[in-house]
C-alpha cells in the first residue's frame, strides 16, 4: 500500500461504516418484505396515488425553488465579480468598491451563521396567521398574507435556505472569466447583451449546472421545511419517507421509497456530469 492510500485509510473506514453499510441496509430493507423475501413492492409503491402525488409536488416545488435561486443568484454573483474584475484591469479599484463588495458578501453569508432549523422556525413565526408580518400588515390596514401552510411558504423556505449553494458555484465560474475575454468580445463588435449570451453564459454553464444540483437535491429531499412551513398539509416525498420510519415504522416501505428518490438524485448528477465534463463547476 503506498503512502497516498495509507492517508486515505481513516476516510475509507468512515465511509464504509457510515455510508456504504447504511446504504446496503437501505437497499436490503427496500428490496425485501417483512419475511425477508425479495420484493419490488416497496419500490413500486411510489406509483400509488398518494406517493406519486408527493413525488410530483416535491419535484415541482424543488424545480421552482431552484429556478428562483438561479435568477436571484446570477445577478448577485455578477455584482460580486464586477468588483473583482476592476482589480484585474491593472489599476487597483477604489477601497470603497472593495468595502461595498464585502458588505454584500456579509449580507449574504449572515443567515448561514444561524442554524438551519432556527432559520426555518423563524420564517414560521414571521408568516403565521398572527405572526409578525401579518401584525404589521394589520397595523397598516393592509390585507393579511396567507401563505403559511401553502406551497408558496415551502418555496420561500427552500429558496431562503439553499440560495447560497447557488451563488457560490455561479460566482466561482464567473470569477474565472478573464476580463480581457469580455473585452475581446466587445472589441469584436458584440454589444453587452451579445457578450452575455455568447460568452458569459456559456462560460458559466458548468457553474450553473452545479448550482442547480446543489439546490435541487437538498430541496427534493427536504422534509423539515415542508413540515414547519407546510403545516403537515403538504406532504413532500421526504415527509412520506420520514413518516414511514418514525410513525408507521414501516422500514421496508420507507427504504423502498428512498431508493426511488435516490434514482432521481443519481439521474440529476449524471446530467450535471455530462454538462460539466471538465469538472470546471467543482464548487466546494
Amino acid at each position: 500500500m503506498n503512502k497516498k492510500k495509507l492517508l486515505g485509510t481513516p476516510y475509507f473506514i468512515w465511509s464504509t461504516l457510515f455510508i456504504l453499510i447504511p446504504l446496503g441496509i437501505v437497499f436490503y430493507y427496500g428490496l425485501t418484505d417483512e419475511s425477508g423475501a425479495f420484493t419490488l413492492n416497496n419500490v413500486m409503491a411510489i406509483s400509488s396515488p398518494g406517493h406519486a402525488k408527493s413525488l410530483w409536488i416535491s419535484l415541482g416545488l424543488s424545480l421552482v425553488s431552484t429556478l428562483i435561486c438561479l435568477f436571484l443568484a446570477y445577478p448577485l454573483a455578477m455584482i460580486l465579480c464586477s468588483g473583482d474584475h476592476s482589480l484585474q484591469t491593472g489599476f487597483l479599484s477604489s477601497k470603497s468598491n472593495a468595502a461595498h463588495k464585502n458588505i454584500i458578501v456579509l449580507i449574504f453569508i449572515l443567515p448561514m451563521w444561524m442554524n438551519f432549523l432556527l432559520r426555518t422556525l423563524a420564517w414560521q413565526t414571521l408568516l403565521e396567521k398572527t405572526g409578525v408580518i401579518n401584525n404589521i400588515l394589520a397595523f397598516l390596514h393592509l390585507p393579511a398574507l396567507k401563505i403559511i401552510n401553502t406551497p408558496y411558504a415551502i418555496i420561500l423556505g427552500m429558496v431562503y435556505n439553499f440560495l447560497p449553494f447557488m451563488v457560490l458555484p455561479v460566482y466561482n465560474s464567473l470569477i474565472k472569466i478573464d476580463p480581457n475575454v469580455i473585452h475581446a468580445a466587445r472589441d469584436l463588435g458584440a454589444n453587452e447583451f451579445q457578450v452575455f449570451t455568447k460568452i458569459t453564459l456559456p462560460l458559466t454553464t458548468p457553474g450553473i449546472i452545479s448550482g442547480i444540483t446543489m439546490v435541487f437535491i437538498p430541496a427534493l429531499t427536504t422534509f423539515l421545511i415542508s413540515k414547519l412551513l407546510g403545516g403537515g398539509k403538504i406532504l413532500l416525498i421526504g415527509n412520506v419517507i420520514e413518516e414511514e420510519f418514525t410513525q408507521a415504522s414501516n422500514w421496508h416501505l420507507g427504504s423502498g421509497l428512498s431508493i426511488v428518490l435516490m434514482m432521481f438524485i443519481i439521474f440529476n448528477m449524471v446530467v450535471s456530469a455530462v454538462f460539466d465534463k471538465d469538472g470546471k463547476g467543482g464548487t466546494l
Binding site: V181, R186, D187, L188, A190
Partner: protein, 357 residues
C-alpha cells in the same frame, strides 16, 4: 508621408486620484507601426485602452479619421485589439473564435468560411479550424488572437504586449511575423511593450513614455542614437550616463577631461548629461586615449565582450570585440559624434524617475 489617422488631444486620465496620463498629445499616421514603450505604470496600456474604448479619458479627445470617437463604445470602433495572454474564447473552436466578429456582423457563411481560411493561412495555422484553444501552444494561441482580430478588416490593430507570455526564441520569430503581417495587411499597428528590443526591431515610430508623460517620439534609430534625456538613454539599451559640463559649442568636459563633440547650442560652462553607448567606447593601450583606466570586470557575451573600466572615478561600461583581461591598464577614447549631450532634467518629476529604472 501618410495622412494622420488617429489624433489624441490633451488626454488626461487618473485612477483614484493618481495621475496616469497627463495632457497626452499624440498623432498616429495611416499604415504606421507605432510602439508605445515604457516601464510598467508609465501609462502606455491606459493609452491603448483609451484607443480601444475600454477606458474613457477624464478630459481630452480621441479623433479617429476626422471623427470624435471619445465616447464611442468598443464594439462601435473600427479597430481591433490583440490582448495580453490571448483572451481566446475557450468554449469555442478556433474557427468559431475567428468567426466571432463576422457572425456578430451577420456576414454570409461563405464569406466567413473564406475569411477563416484566409486568416489561418496568414498566421500559418492552416487546418486548425476544429481545434480548441486549450490544445494550442502559447505562440499558436497568439496567432489565433491576431487572426481573430484581422478578419474584421480593422483600420488599426492594437496590440497589448502580445508577445509577453512567450519564450525568447518564439518572441523573436513572432516579431518577424508581425512585421510581415503588417506589410501584407497594410494597416496601422499600435503596439504596447516594455521590451526595448521589441520596440527597436519592429517599429516605424517609437513613443517612449514614463509616468504618464511622453518622453520622446522618433524613429528607432533616433531614439537609440539621440536620446533626449537620461531616462530614455538608460531605458533604451545600456549606456554610460555621465554628469558633465559643456564648456562651449563642440567641447565638453567629461570627468575632468576635455572631449570634442558635435553638439552646439547648450551654452558655456553649462552642466549637462552625456550619454555614451558602451559599443562607442574605444579601448586602446594606456596613454593613447584621452583618459586612462583599469579593466575591473570582463564577461564574454557571445557577439562581444562586456567590460567595466574604472577611469577618472567612473565605472565605464564597454562593449568590444577585442578582449582586455581584468587588471589591464587601458586608454579610453570616444569619437566626437558618439557623444550625445542632453540637458539636465528640468523638473524634479523627471529627476525622480531618472536612472533607477
Amino acid at each position: 508621408m501618410n495622412k494622420i489617422l488617429i489624433d489624441l488631444k490633451n488626454i488626461n486620465k487618473s485612477f483614484d486620484g493618481q495621475m496616469v496620463l497627463d495632457d497626452l498629445n499624440l498623432y498616429i499616421r495611416e499604415n504606421e507601426f507605432l510602439t508605445l514603450l515604457g516601464p510598467s505604470g508609465c501609462g502606455k496600456t491606459t493609452t491603448l485602452r483609451i484607443l480601444g474604448g475600454f477606458e474613457m479619458p477624464d478630459t481630452g479627445k480621441v479623433i479617429f479619421d476626422g471623427a470624435d470617437i471619445t465616447k464611442l463604445p468598443p464594439n462601435k470602433r473600427q479597430l481591433n485589439t490583440v490582448f495580453q495572454k490571448y483572451a481566446l474564447f475557450t468554449h469555442m473552436t478556433i474557427a468559431e473564435n475567428i468567426a466571432f466578429g463576422l457572425r456578430i456582423k451577420n456576414k454570409s457563411k461563405s464569406y466567413i468560411d473564406d475569411k477563416i481560411k484566409y486568416a489561418l493561412k496568414l498566421v500559418n495555422l492552416e487546418g486548425y479550424e476544429k481545434r480548441m484553444p486549450d490544445s494550442l501552444s502559447g505562440g499558436q494561441q497568439q496567432r489565433i488572437a491576431i487572426a481573430r482580430a484581422i478578419v474584421n478588416e480593422p483600420k488599426v490593430l492594437l496590440l497589448d504586449e502580445p508577445l509577453g507570455a512567450l519564450d525568447l526564441k518564439l518572441r523573436q520569430d513572432m516579431q518577424y511575423e508581425l512585421i510581415r503581417l503588417k506589410n501584407e495587411l497594410g494597416i496601422t499597428f499600435i503596439y504596447v511593450t516594455h521590451d526595448q528590443e521589441e520596440a527597436l526591431t519592429m517599429s516605424d515610430t517609437i513613443v517612449v513614455m514614463n509616468q504618464g508623460y511622453i518622453q520622446q517620439i522618433g524613429t528607432p534609430e533616433k531614439i537609440y542614437n539621440e536620446p533626449e534625456n537620461a531616462f530614455i538613454a538608460d531605458f533604451i539599451g545600456d549606456s554610460n550616463i555621465i554628469s558633465s559640463t559643456m564648456i562651449e559649442d563642440k567641447l565638453v568636459d567629461i570627468l575632468g577631461t576635455r572631449f570634442p563633440c558635435v553638439d552646439t547650442g547648450f551654452g558655456c560652462n553649462k552642466p549637462v548629461d552625456v550619454v555614451i553607448r558602451p559599443e562607442d567606447v574605444i579601448l586602446s593601450d594606456p596613454d593613447r586615449g584621452r583618459i586612462n583606466g583599469v579593466v575591473t570586470h570582463l564577461i564574454f557575451k557571445g557577439v562581444h565582450y562586456e567590460m567595466e573600466v574604472m577611469a577618472a572615478g567612473y565605472e565605464w561600461l564597454v562593449h568590444s570585440t577585442s578582449m582586455f583581461p581584468v587588471g589591464t591598464k587601458v586608454g579610453i577614447n570616444v569619437d566626437p559624434f558618439n557623444i550625445q549631450i542632453m540637458n539636465k532634467p528640468a523638473s524634479e518629476d523627471e529627476e525622480a524617475v531618472g536612472i533607477n529604472e
